[in-house]
């Protein structure tokens, strides 16, 4: 982090007011959101189409981001992943032809978690910033790859199905980590 960034942090810390929000329910809610999201991901579409197997892509999710060494960093990584998934599923889904209701519930659930954490993030920002950021950048690269893949394939059915399978894998990983985090 260079000096400019540090000054920015300092300014933010000075000017933002600390709110006394109720944030205790976020870990419990997070677990529920992950459970629900996995169910809805399955519900919104059918089984992975055979014809899309040829186009299978290897995105290589950076698993070290979820290593349990630093709890706060892992929690923030999970919240960032929610942001990225929410973004991806807001794109043009007409060719995917998925269940609209399940999709809406999926997005709405993710968004609720994102919004509530935003309100509480003021308390957490100092922790996150001081950690090594390489992993965060790797995470961004991973989602950038998926975004580019979807754009290149013009958001066709197979690209969506592959992305959905990838997000499912991602959420399952997070689910495991979250269970261990809270035990």
């Amino acid at each position: 982090m260079n000096d400019f960034g540090l000054i920015l942090i300092g300014l933010i810390l000075c000017t933002t007011t600390i709110s006394s929000l109720q944030c205790n329910h976020l870990p419990l809610q997070q677990r529920k959101v992950i459970e629900n999201s996995l169910q809805l991901l399955d519900k919104m579409g059918k089984k992975f189409p055979q014809q899309c197997l040829r186009e299978e892509m290897s995105f290589r999710f950076p698993e070290q981001v979820l290593k349990l060494g630093q709890r706060e960093a892992v929690k923030m990584a999970i919240e960032e992943i929610f942001h990225h998934i929410f973004y991806i599923f807001s794109k043009n889904l007409t060719l995917a032809a998925w269940d609209g209701t399940a999709l809406e519930q999926f997005q709405n659930g993710l968004y609720q978690q994102i919004e509530q954490l935003e309100a509480c993030v003021i308390k957490k920002q100092t922790h996150y910033f001081q950690k090594k950021e390489v992993n965060r950048l790797k995470l961004k690269k991973y989602f950038q790859k998926i975004d580019c893949f979807l754009k290149d394939k013009q958001h066709n059915l197979c690209s969506w199905e592959i992305s959905r399978a990838e997000m499912r894998r991602c959420l399952q990983l997070i689910d495991k980590v979250v269970r261990r985090l809270n035990n």
Binding site: M1, N2, F4, G5, L8, I9, L11, I12, Q22, N24, H25, P27, L28, Q29, K32, V33, N36, M76, E79, E80, H83, H84, F86, Y87, S90, T101, E104, Q105, Q107, N108, G109, L110, Y111, Q112, Q113, E115, Q116, E118, V121, Q125, Y128, F129, E133, V134, L137, K138, K140, K141, F143, Q144, D147
Partner: protein, 569 residues
């Protein structure tokens, strides 16, 4: 030729920059650029530096390399496009950078004709980390005393983006009255939003910045836009005081309306996430089933809360005859946060070992599973002795399970219990349940023991006493018979003569007939006969209870014997 030698030297030692070698090869007085800075806004990269030398006809050239995919070894140094032969001390090299998450190295040197300065110190950067969020775009509309604002993201319509995830932006609005000493008001807004609480017919100025909360990044402000608010038309029939009452996941919307004429209402809802998107969500409001065209000022909208994960907005559209309608304020529903927890059900029981068992039924009725799943209930039990003396201490116990046990109870006491469900995570607690009272049994044990002992004793006594009494009686009668026989003659001998027939002694029918035959034989003989008769008498009379027949004087002659025979017969 000097240049060639320089370049060959560079190749030989690619990672080292030994300034000494350059001095040896090519004489130069040129100073290297210093104080390199990179200024990035969105995908626009500007390189700035300082040149402290006195020379005026110098140019600058830059080089760069980057570390692909977080590798340790970087690429070769390449010329930095846009920063070659610059005369100013800044250049734009946006076209060179495409990998925003990879680490890059930059360096510059001063050049003058054939002379070159040493390379400056390396400037290391990761584009994403130093990039600033550019200003967003603003569109304003003034409607009915309210400013409608539409924000477009910083890199809208750009192909190459630094901020790929533009949904993660949170927009910060700063607004003030266009007058002196105006107060600045700062608030967070959605990409499409309305600004309320403004004075009508007033000019307001505002500016918006995009922020990235997860990384605490604040972007540059947009240019200031000013707009005048219109006159506010007071619509009389709008729904007011829109509020939510939610208990055990049953959600009700309530509102008021002071309008006296007939008004019908439509309650509408919107999924919360739609506000985060850049599309116009005003067309996406849907009617709540069962609350369309109603006249009642309340609506049960539990049916739209399909999952507990998900924020919703609700509003009431009021309509009167000539198709005029008015929209109320919006209320936000976060199901698990908005909902109130009802009291749990309680049943009490006392077991034989004087333990009070409390069976708790989680609140929610039909929705109890959903609530239990999401709230992670704990239960607070209050219990106390219900005596006439109200000074009894109320004790408390907290449990996670639905069965609680209380020990250490005093017997023959009325205990009362009430239970409250609470969620530690959501900081919510229900009202207390109704009081359930139960009396602990008296000391049952001691009276039982006493009773049992008494009964056993009585039985034992009876078992022992009865045979004893019987034995004693038997002994007594035997002894009496042996030692104290009765001396009374038999009554039939006493009344001998004329009272024979009146004697109470009568032979019974039980007498065996054989006796008669014996008597006959006795008569033909002598004295022995009499003995036999006497013996027979005594035998007969011994059947009586105590009257013994004795030997009488044998004055009774044969006549008496005959009499006797007759009698007997």
């Amino acid at each position: 030729s000097q240049r060639k030698r320089q370049s060959s030297l560079r190749l030989a030692t690619p990672s080292l920059e030994p300034p000494l070698c350059y001095f040896l090869v090519g004489q130069t007085n040129l100073k290297s650029p210093q104080d390199i800075q990179v200024y990035v806004v969105n995908t626009n990269f500007t390189l700035r530096w300082k040149y402290t030398g006195n020379d005026t006809d110098v140019t600058f050239s830059a080089e760069y390399r980057w570390f692909e995919d977080f590798k340790v070894d970087g690429t070769e140094w390449k010329k930095l496009p846009g920063c070659q032969n610059d005369t100013r001390t800044e250049c734009d090299f946006s076209s060179a950078i495409t990998e925003y998450y990879d680490k890059h190295h930059l360096r510059i040197r001063t050049e003058r004709r054939e002379e070159v300065s040493p390379w400056s110190s390396i400037f290391e950067m990761t584009p994403y980390d130093i990039a600033q969020i550019g200003p967003p775009g603003i569109e304003l509309q003034s409607i009915n005393g309210v400013i409608k604002i539409k924000v477009s993201p910083p890199e809208a319509n750009q192909v190459q983006k630094m901020w790929i995830d533009d949904l993660s932006f949170k927009y910060n609005l700063v607004i003030w009255e266009n007058s002196s000493n105006a107060e600045f008001r700062s608030q967070s807004i959605f990409p499409t939003d309305k600004i309320y609480d403004l004075a009508p017919d007033t000019t307001y100025c505002l500016k918006v910045q995009a922020t990235y909360p997860l990384e605490s990044k604040e972007g540059l402000f947009s240019p200031v836009h000013c707009i005048k608010t219109t006159h506010k038309v007071n619509v009389t029939f709008c729904a007011t005081n829109v509020s939510i009452l939610a208990l055990n996941m049953k959600f009700h919307l309530h509102w008021d309306n002071r309008y006296k004429q007939h008004v019908s209402y439509n309650v509408q809802y919107l999924s919360g996430y739609l506000k985060k998107l850049y599309d116009d969500y005003s067309v996406k409001w849907l009617n709540v089933p069962g609350c369309e065209n109603i006249t009642d000022t309340q609506c049960n909208f539990s049916s739209i809360i399909t999952t507990v994960s998900g924020t919703f907005y609700l509003r009431v559209q009021a309509m009167i005859e000539n198709n005029k309608s008015c929209l109320s304020n919006e209320v936000k529903v976060i199901p698990l946060v908005t909902n109130e927890i009802g009291p749990p059900g309680v049943k009490v029981d006392i077991s034989d070992d004087v333990l009070l068992h409390i069976q708790i039924y989680p609140p929610g009725g039909s929705e109890s599973e959903v609530m239990r799943d999401n709230y992670d209930f704990s239960y607070r039990i209050l219990y106390w002795k219900n005596s006439s003396n109200n000074e009894e201490e109320i004790k408390m116990k907290e449990i996670k399970q639905t069965i609680g046990t209380i020990s250490d109870l005093t017997p023959s006491t009325l205990y009362c219990v009430k239970v409250q469900a609470f969620s530690k995570a959501y900081n919510k607690s229900s009202h207390f349940s109704k009081e359930e009272c139960i009396k602990t049994p008296g000391d049952k044990i001691l009276p039982l023991v006493i009773l049992a002992t008494f009964v056993t004793a009585v039985v034992a006594v009876l078992l022992v006493a009865a045979p004893l009494i019987f034995v004693l009686y038997q002994a007594y009668s035997k002894i009496k018979y042996v030692f104290f026989p009765s001396c009374q003659p038999p009554l039939n001998i006493e009344g001998f003569g004329g009272q024979l027939f009146n004697s109470p002694y009568r032979p019974t029918a039980e007498e065996p007939i054989e006796n008669f035959s014996i008597i006959e034989t006795i008569i033909t003989e002598d004295l022995n006969q009499i003995d036999f008769k006497d013996y027979k008498h005594s035998k007969q009379s011994s059947r009586d209870s105590g009257n013994y027949s004795n030997d009488d004087d044998t004055s009774g002659s044969k006549a008496s014997e005959e009499m006797l025979e007759k009698e007997i017969v």
